[in-house]
Each structure stands twice: as structure tokens, then as C-alpha cells.
Symmetry: C2
Subunit: 194 residues, 2 copies
Amino acid sequence: MGKGAETHETILQEAVALASVAGLEGVTIGTLATHTGLSKSGLFAHFGSKENLQVETLRAATERFVASVVSPALRKPAGIRRVRALFDNWVKWSGSQGRGGCLFVASAVELDDQEGPARDFLVEKQREWFDVIARTAQRAVDAGDFRPDLDCEQFAHDLYSHFLGYHHARRLMRDPKAEPRARAAFEQLLRNAQ
Amino acid sequence: MGKGAETHETILQEAVALASVAGLEGVTIGTLATHTGLSKSGLFAHFGSKENLQVETLRAATERFVASVVSPALRKPAGIRRVRALFDNWVKWSGSQGRGGCLFVASAVELDDQEGPARDFLVEKQREWFDVIARTAQRAVDAGDFRPDLDCEQFAHDLYSHFLGYHHARRLMRDPKAEPRARAAFEQLLRNAQ
DNA sequence: GCGAAAAACGAACGTTCGTGCTTTTTTCTG
DNA sequence: CAGAAAAAAGCACGAACGTTCGTTTTTCGC
């Protein structure tokens, strides 16, 4: 990897960390330059536009998310264990994000009314993630862990909701019961699916 | 109401509408002045600081929320019907917010890491809203609609999660199934509580 | 180690941001 | 209706925003 690509990576790493705290719009060229020890113009040249920086930041965050949440879970045996791994990894990952929260939750709210490539990218990746959950539930049905008439898309939607509830309780409300509540809700979701 | 207070009200009305679309931070003194036909300095004099404007915007939004969601529901007979009214009003109100989404959801993500009076105010009101839900569930237990050993705080947490899931599916994903999914999840929540 | 290519810098641009002042206009009260 | 009080405007400020451009420094292939 050449020097340029290396710096590029470093910038994106910092951008993801910063965005988790201040949101996508909060990642300003100036502050990002300061944090990386680069000049504004030097940093800017790597991306060509703020919009592109935002998309690349989301892309970098997605890579990390897949590597630490999705891929490990997909290595578990299909069925309820894999479903558990998905949710468990998700919650653990969210809690390990330093001071910040889940960048995707933050971006979802920030971009829901902002047409453009950043929104398009986020929606696409969220859709993929939703489908992974739904398919994983379907595999659990196939394995006999879940009842045959389960609505897997509804299951994915509900799982997603429980994560959002967890995120809200932990991040805004700073409720120490956030995680146990989320886990209780998840267990109930599993029971209803069996 | 004098002229001053009237203008004050008009500004806040516009601020709430604008914040629902662009977020709290997106409500800039300049754009707000343009939308209300005032000068920047003239508008600014009403609030003294941007921070105070944000708090007042949240306060105005809270008033509207209570008037169109909470109060009508509390006029229903205690029990499961009131619980239904809470969720129903909430979902309907969220869908009727014009182009924007729920300001509280947007602010929750925006302010979760931003220490200050705006955050404090939001957390306080969210806490109150959470308590209203939990107490309403308790009244349903008392009325015999819900089982006696129901964890009412968990119920409130779950209800909240389902709203967040609905909001996410509708606003970011623009999923036409968002509302039926949320309603299905809510019905399941009720069934589990009985 | 030389020279081309890539990377980073420094300075400036036009805007917009929130926030002070002072002055003018409008509203309310006696 | 006059005069006080309130409201709004006008103007300016320093800072930060994204972006452009020309120059300097660093990296890398030969």
C-alpha cells in the first residue's frame, strides 16, 4: 500500500470515529484535518468533495461492521444460534464504539430527508443488513428452530426495533438497564418465533 | 397576547416545522429569519442565544405532542384501550408531521453526545413520556387487562422500541409496510402482556 | 540518486454561522 | 395623542464552512 492509500485509510478511520460522536455532518474538513495532522487542502484532495467523504466514511464503517458483526455470526451454525449471534454481536459492537453510538443509527436520522448519494448508499446497506437478518431467520425456520409459518420479514423488523430501543435507552437516556431490557425483549421475540 | 409574544409563537411554530426536517442543528438563525420574514438580528433578540432557541423549540414541540398524543389518550378509559390510544395516537401523529419526522427522535440522536440544556430538557421530557407509558400499562394491569406480574417498565421500553422501528422503516427506508409491521408488533406486545 | 509523479501545504475565495451593537420603527399606555 | 417601552432592522464582527489554485515537499520507479 502506497503512502497515499495509507493516509486515506487513516483519515477514514478517524472520520468514522468522529462521525460516531458528532454525526456525519459533524465531520468537518477542518476538524478532520486537525485530528489527522493534515492541512485542510491536503486532506480535501483525497476526496474531492464533502459529499464523497461522507459516502466513503459510510463505506469504511460498513466494512468494519460486516467484519465484526455479520461475518462472525455467519460462521455460526445456521438456526437459532446464528440468530442469537447476530443480535449479540450487534449489541456488543454498539457498546464497544467508544464514546460514540452506532454511526448507522445516527446517519439514518440525519439522512432520512437529505436526498443524495450518501443517503442512497446508507439505504442500500441497511436493506442488505435487513435481508441478512430475514434470511437468517428463514434458515432457523428451515432448521426447525422457528415455527414454519413465521413471518421472517416481520421478525427482522422486530429485531431491528429492539436494537433501536436499546440504542436509544443507552445513548440518550443513559439507562443502565438498557442492555438487560434489550436482551429480555429479544428473548421474548425468540419465544414468539418458536 | 402582545405583538412580541405573537411573533415569538410564530417563530417557534416555524422552528418546529423546520427542525422536523433538518434537525435541531439545521434550524439556523438565518434560514429561520428568512422563513418568518424577519431580520436575523430581530429574530435573534427573541431568544438571546441559539442554545435557548433550541430549548424553546423543543418545549414548543413538546406542548404540541402532549396536546395531540398524550392528552387525548389519557381521556380514554384506563386499561388496554388507553394503551392502544397511546400507541395509535403516537403513530398517527408521527405520520402527520408533514415532510419531516418525529423531532424527538431526530433530537435524541443529535443530542445524545452533546452536553447542555437542550439535551437535559429532552431527556427530562423523554423520561416523563416513558413514565406515562409505564403508568398506563400499570393501570391496565390494575384493570385486569394485563397479567398481574407484567413488568411495566419493560413494556414501556418495548413499546418505545416498536415506535422507533416504525420511524426508521418509514423515514429512512420509506417502506410502505412500516405501519402494518409496527401495528403487528404492537399487537404481539399486547398479547404477551395478557 | 535522478527525475517524474504523487502527496501535502499555504493562502485565499465567497458564504454562512452565531452574536454584538446602534438606530429606526412599531406597539402599547396614560 | 404624546411619550415611554418594546420590537425589529441595519450593520458589522470574527470564526468556520467547503472549495480552488499554485507551490512546495515527499515518495517511488528506474
